[in-house]
Assembly symmetry: C2
Homo-oligomer: 187 residues x 2
């Protein structure tokens, strides 16, 4: 029997999400989150670097997934093929099936400038992971950066369209359309 109830991190996360939903992000203090989880403020900051991070804690997994995919792709694979396959895996693993939760988070992020900045940082981190993957595959710096940034653009524009739409279109189908649109634009 342990001194602490388990899953402190999860409880903090849940408490935070609940309070954000109830009273908004800015109006929710860290002590309030910690109290609801039955923990101290100090413990909160041991699990999350700051209040914003609660909302993006598991976004880092996307970068890890991307790194694995890119390292595992055949040596001869074309960059564009890698991107298409990678976006498919990303859509399937990290987005599909979470539409409602992602919509909800999007609203929260829209309500606070600080959250928007953190969101952008996660996006930038994903771009870096992709860029590093291409660098590791021997591409030049500029080309790797260009491909990485464009990949992330595809993800974000597609996800936005997907979250806006009420039909049952698959995210990955939208990604395909966006890629086609991009090629039409710059072909």
């Amino acid at each position: 029997m342990s001194r602490w109830r388990p899953d402190a991190r999860q409880r903090l996360q849940q408490a935070a999400l609940d309070l954000f939903a109830e009273q908004g992000f800015a109006e929710t203090t860290v002590p309030a989150i910690a109290a609801r989880a039955g923990l101290t403020t100090r413990t909160f900051f041991r699990h999350f670097a700051d209040k914003r991070e609660v909302l993006f804690a598991d976004d880092a997994e996307a970068s890890v997934l991307v790194a694995q995919l890119m390292a595992g792709a055949p040596a001869a694979a074309e960059p564009l093929t890698i991107i298409r396959e990678g976006l498919r895996a990303l859509a399937e693993n990290r987005f599909e099936g979470r539409k409602a939760a992602l919509r909800h988070r999007r609203e929260l992020v829209r309500s606070d400038a600080g959250l928007q900045e953190r969101d952008l940082r996660k996006r930038a981190a994903l771009a870096e992971a992709i860029r590093d993957g291409f660098l590791a595959r021997g591409l030049g710096a500029a080309r790797a950066a260009l491909l990485a940034e464009t990949s992330v653009t595809l993800v974000y524009v597609s996800v936005a369209e997907w979250l806006d739409s009420d039909d049952d279109r698959k995210l990955d189908d939208i990604v395909g359309e966006m890629l086609a649109a991009l090629r039409a634009e710059f072909g």
Copy 2:
């Protein structure tokens, strides 16, 4: 004889830049900035929303410039033409001739996560300005977003290359190369 020395905003900005250079961003407190400018902390926050904003205060002008350019372009102009012309104007107006200062700012931004986030937000604001410009020209939402994000990618990847290079290449020439590279990639 006035009660206040004029240019409070400029003095605050200069004091901040000096102190950031001397002791770093995180180590510089707002009271210290205000004191060096001969003002109070409260006055600092009336001019700048937060400590980070001092470094990016005039980035908003880029969005204004973009909005003007896009509104002024001929109705029949192709999106890609508008982008090419816009990036040329942007390079000329906001980057060319400021290489040393921009390099210095980049170092500062690299040193602090909060500054990185703010930098990304300014980048996002530029993308929004471009997207809005295309929307106003009647393009669909997805197409406008795709073109805007790609434009900003071109700017940032080009600027990074430009700041890294020690030769005298013009930023706009690098932009041209990047656009060509992008077309080669997705053509």
